[in-house]
Amino acid sequence: MSNLAKLTSIDRRWIFLLIGLGTLIPVLLPIGFPVRVTAPVKQIFDKIETFGPNDVIVLSYDYGPTTGAENDPMTDAILRHCFSHDIKVIALALYPLGGLTSLTASIDRIAAEYPNLQYGVDYVNLGYKDGGQATMKLLAEDFSGAFPNDTHGTPLSELPLMQRVKGARNAQLAISVATGIFGEWWANLINAQYGLPVAVGCTAVSAPKYYAYLEAGQMIGLIGGLKGASEYEQLVKDNYPATREAYANPMLQTASKGMDVQTIDHLIIIAFIVIGNIAYFADRRAKRA
């Protein structure tokens, strides 16, 4: 077996080491690759731009810590966009850990960047509710049917924002930042039945599935994976310069920084695929000889 052919049986720990370094180095020394915005992401941004101060979006945290690296930057960017543009936000979670960790941590952190915001007037955190599709159908008609109280235990009837928005169907847009199948439910149940525009932010691995809904017009836009999140971040930074300060925080792990890691790791994987194929053909030739 030639030296080249031996590469087919390379110890996978070398691959792990290179991927580890390709992840660690860009995190410690950010490169800052440029971001090009694609149409599916821009469509969501443009839709929110058309809204006024009385308009409301429903933001559903349908993911947990497993996909937080991809989904957290999406919800952060959407919240910054809404709060900068004076759009009201009703946040909730249909995924168990989405309510407790992602939603509460995210909305409190982002709202703190906007001292003029009033809880209950500008935004509401409804927390998590079990039940999946049944809960989704209930909250479409009447939020209080699924969430009698917000996450602080306050009855919805005492919150000014919830007094004027009975159900999700009365909002202007629903955005599901989702892992797995949740985004499909929003398109199938809420958009199909009530005509409420729906947008989805999903992990890169789920994105191919959602293109069918996007092309069919059942979703107004799609934020796919870390790449989509970095595009949304770029749109927010470009259109709302005040948000650049938050994104300049070196301790903040943004999608734009994550794209440095994704770029290096994708290149490493492609390099290994090329090496693997060269070694495969070398091995085949050696066997024939």
Binding site: T101, T104, A146, Q193, I273, N277, Y280
Partner: protein, 223 residues
């Protein structure tokens, strides 16, 4: 016979029919809508009980591992201890027992025990497990993406184009190709899968609603 077979089938028929009728009458038929909402609320409650079933199942499965000291029995103890910790503090917090103000943060900004476990144990563990995928995907890509035949070559080329199209370095050239691949061939295939799965789900639902499929009652078709 009536209580074991006919009554459950009748209940299933009405429980299945009402949401279907309600779906097509969003603003009208308040009686149907009210019934449908009531059923959906019941479903939320029932799904809560499913959680209890899951807990019992996890306990039984892991106790069976611990008793004969099966391989990995120690991890089963860790799992049960973690579940007991989160379950007890979660339930106590939700019921406001032992002075706990809930399951989120305390008024002074410190996390409740449940929130502490969630933030500093469960969240990093879950994130770590998912992050490990990157290493295994890289290793699998190295071994699986080989130009063995036409199908494998198409798969390899598509994967490389998408990987390049989703990073800034390759995006100017491969970005439009990636978008086209996602929208056209991928979109068509996904649509076929989604429609096929939906038709399958609809036909199975109809079989259950009409009482043809009875296996969920522990019965054969002819019983």
């Amino acid at each position: 016979m009536f209580l074991k077979v006919r009554l459950p089938i009748m209940l299933t028929f009405f429980a299945g029919l009402i949401p279907i009728v309600a779906f097509f009458f969003v603003d009208g038929t308040p009686v149907v809508k009210k019934l449908s909402n009531s059923l959906e609320q019941d479903m939320v409650i029932v799904s809560g009980f499913a959680l209890l079933l899951g807990v019992v199942n996890v306990v039984q499965g892991n106790v069976r591992k611990i008793e004969p000291r099966e391989k990995g029995w120690f991890y089963a103890i860790v799992l049960l201890a973690g579940m007991a910790f989160m379950g007890l503090f979660g339930a106590a917090g939700a019921m406001r027992l032992f002075g706990l103000p809930g399951i989120g943060m305390m008024p002074d900004g410190r996390p409740t025990p449940f929130q502490w476990g969630s933030l500093y144990m469960f969240t990093p563990l879950q994130a770590t497990m998912f992050a490990l995928l990157a290493f295994y995907i890289a290793s699998a890509a190295f071994r699986a993406f080989r130009i063995r035949n036409l199908e494998a070559t198409i798969l390899l080329v598509a994967a490389v184009f998408v990987m390049l199209g989703r990073i800034p370095i390759g995006e100017p050239l491969f970005g439009p190709i990636t978008e086209w691949m996602m929208q056209v061939p991928n979109g068509a295939a996904q649509r076929g899968i989604i429609i096929g799965a939906a038709l399958g789900a609809a036909s199975l639902s109809l079989r259950v609603i009409l009482g043809i499929e009875r296996s969920y009652l522990g019965l054969d078709k002819n019983e």
